[in-house]
Amino acid sequence: MKKFLFALALGLLLVLALATVAMADNGPHGGFTATTDACAGCHRAHSAKVGSNSLLIMDPEALCLTCHNGSGAATNVVDGVYMAAGSPYGSVEGTDGASLFGGGFTNALMATAWNGSHTFKAGSDATSKATTSTHGVGAAGTVWGSGANNSTNAGMVLECTTCHDPHGKAGFTNATTQTTGCNVTLAASTPLTESCTVKVSSYRLLRWQPQGSGGFTAPATSVNWSGGNFPVSGLTAGWTVPDNYAANGSEWYTIGAQTLTCGTAPNTYACGPFAAGDYNNGNANNTYQPLNAAPATQTYIPAAVNTAYFCAQCHDRYFNNSRLRNNTDESAYCTRIGDVGYVPPVDINSVSAVDATGCLPYYYTGTTAPTPRWLWADVRSSGDTTYMFRHASGDIRLSMDGTSTAGGGTSVSRSCVACHVSHGTTAAMTALAGTADTPAVTPPDGASLAGGSTLLRMDNRSLCLRCHASTVNFTVTP
């Protein structure tokens, strides 16, 4: 009897161990129904090969690249090209053989030489070459500029799923603010922990915040709009990165405007229109305001700062939103209340970077003569000994047509991605750009950043000239 029971138990164990059989994949990125089998395309309940909370059947990088190498998806991120005509993402990326805006991991199709035109101009200028630097996935790497001031840079294994949510539009909903693919109204009166029932399709299935990033750590010296603390992760709940190409077919992707419906039926309400994410509109509660109240004469896509915020979830100390106020936000940051035409001393090399009035230096000359122009300067020290003064990463005006007037171009950048690609670049670095920093700057952990192309879009320092041509007396050609 004992033997029989033992054999029975063993048999049951064997059956249970084999219970997780292969299930079919009906396309992994959304389209879920109540009886979906899609989960089984990537997950295993009992026989996963990847642990943590993912229970993936395979290493995520290998799994994703099985399709995203052209054999299962048009987006070939290995080579940074489209592999099939007719993509829904616009006239540039939708062309067969056109570039992916993020570059590629092994190769990329880019025009990295100075040509006065776009980096990803399809069909011309762009050539396919091996990448010189990548946002390496699947292997441990250093997250440069991560963490609090003067802390050691974190190490992490970046995966595709760190930034992209493979569940896509039909993402999971939970009661926390870390809902993926969901937008909520972020008015002052709206609880930020509101659960969201709205599902949106984010651009490239990007998460609102990189998974496992730990959240953005504001520098010791605040650089936000109201002098208070920058919103920590979670409070800007549900900001996705929707697709919104500029009408001129700009090569840059943006985080654009949306009008959505939030809440639970029948108690729904309009959340938006979101003209764009904008860190400029602070209020007394330090609540992030989605609506941009920039002057009507300014035509820009302020949602650029969202990209910077996304990147800053990991690369905390690179973030520097220099657009600290707009002309309607008479914040306590500046004691020159009411004087919107104030032009502080032009001394951007001032170390203390705060003029005698206590205002953060900025340049704004109003909407009439002199010529209206926004200028940004990284003059506010973060307090970090390495990442002390940083190039503005908020709303960056960029002269994309190579003219000498910074901010004069009609195309505008989207902050970090104005200069960097997200997957990999073919930009070449030579001479001074290919050698150690001068003077050498060694981050606290001793590692050097010398010589790398660091995901820059263009060779050497051509990027600088795209904005600062006039500053350095560079004659723009062609």
Partner: protein, 404 residues
């Protein structure tokens, strides 16, 4: 009266046989029996040997099945290493050459002999590993090697030794045809040409002349992925144009005819989607003995079936059963109508008997791992006439050889 004397011979009387004689007799009988058995065995071996020479087949296939078709998995034999992310594999008609396509590294097509010894490598002309992406491969009855360069949407055609011959740069257009029209006369020996999908140009160079680049076709209906030849020599191509994922069928007559005057009568079927009769990134297509089409419907996780008349019939291997597929990629139909499917995410090869009215799952072989007989993203499979299976084991960087 007296009884006449009868002479009796000793044989008329039972004789007393000694035990030794009896033992000898038994030994002789045993030896005789053994000899008969050996002769029978020799005859059987001789029969199968001769039969194998005439028609190579796995041994089980030659035996008369006792209770129906014998269905058991093949056994692992060996591996061909020295590859970078192989995703395509094909074998020459005589089984003496194995061609493997790399997806990483230099992205070459590598040729090996039957014993796995490297012979040579080749690639589309004028390309480098940053602007070519060979994927699936097929060899026709004449030994020509067809390789799909998915980066440039070119079905490159090489001879058996890997010398570039021509390329299909659109559904009904070849490089030789295009360049000949440009030049206006027959192309001299040594002319080089290829298509660049990024610049959408045909780059060509006549001997002793400057290289030229002219606008090429837009390829609006041409985005080939999978390649196979059916037993009749027809070329089967899966096409992944957005909205129109499907199958293109080129007749053997068109493929074997003049590529210079390429004017094929193409048959096609399929549209993109998840519903019945629709396809999503079909990676491969084969036919059974009745001419029905079996399509590896990759992103739909199933095999979809069309009749010989290109009418949608059914699908199978979809769902959450133990015979279902995850992400089918390369498929191969053996001559016994056994469909072999490389399930790249399932990490095995699934085998179905499609000879009956309903497909029947037989078995699968292989599992995830890096050891011999284990797979790490198997992508493609082919079987030679002798029953050897070749599997492109992508992330283990090898071609695995199995045998029935």
């Amino acid at each position: 009266m007296t009884t006449p004397d009868i002479e009796l011979e000793s044989k008329d009387f039972p004789q007393n046989i000694s035990p030794e004689d009896k033992q000898d007799e038994r030994k002789r009988r045993k030896l005789l029996l053994l000899l008969i058995l050996l002769l029978s065995l020799l005859c059987c071996v001789g029969y199968f040997f001769v039969r194998y020479l005439l028609k190579p087949e796995p041994l089980p296939e030659m035996l008369v099945p006792l209770t129906g078709a014998i269905s058991y998995p093949p056994a692992y034999v060996s591996s061909i290493i020295g590859l970078d992310g192989p995703v395509g594999v094909a074998v020459s008609p005589d089984g003496q050459r194995i061609y493997a396509v790399e997806s990483t590294g230099e992205r070459l097509i590598k040729m090996f002999d039957r014993n796995g010894n490297f012979i040579k490598s080749f690639a589309p002309p004028g390309t480098s590993n940053s602007n070519r992406k060979p994927a699936y491969i097929a060899v026709d009855a004449a030994g020509r090697v067809f390789v799909n360069d998915t980066y440039n949407n070119v079905v490159a055609i090489f001879d058996a030794d890997g010398n570039f011959l021509d390329g299909m740069i659109d559904k009904d257009l070849t490089l030789s045809e295009f360049v000949t029209a440009q030049v206006g006369s027959a192309l001299p020996q040594g002319t080089l040409y290829y298509f660049n999908n990024i610049t959408k140009t045909v780059d060509y160079k006549l001997p002793d002349q400057e290289a030229k680049s002219v606008p090429g076709p837009q390829q609006t209906e041409w985005s080939p992925l999978g390649l196979r030849f059916d037993p009749d020599g027809n070329l089967l191509v899966t096409n992944i144009i957005s909205g129109k994922h499907g199958v293109l069928i080129y007749s053997a007559a068109d493929i074997n005819g003049s590529l210079l005057g390429f004017n094929p009568q193409i048959k096609e079927f399929g549209v993109e989607g998840k519903e019945n009769g629709q396809l999503s990134f079909p990676n491969s297509v084969v036919v059974d003995s009745l001419g029905n089409f079996y399509v590896s419907d990759g992103n739909n996780g199933r095999v979809s079936v069309w009749t010989i008349d290109m009418q949608y019939k059914t699908f199978f291997a979809f769902g959450s059963n133990e015979d279902s597929l995850n992400l089918p990629r390369g498929i191969w139909m053996s001559d016994k109508d056994r469909l072999h499917v490389a399930d790249s995410v399932g990490q095995y090869i699934r085998v179905y008997d499609v000879s009956g009215s309903e497909p029947k799952f037989l078995f699968n072989f292989g599992e995830f791992g890096t050891l011999e007989g284990e797979f790490n993203f198997p992508i493609d499979i082919c079987i030679d006439a002798g029953g050897r299976l070749y599997i492109a084991d992508r992330d283990n960087n090898r071609i695995q050889i199995w045998s029935y």
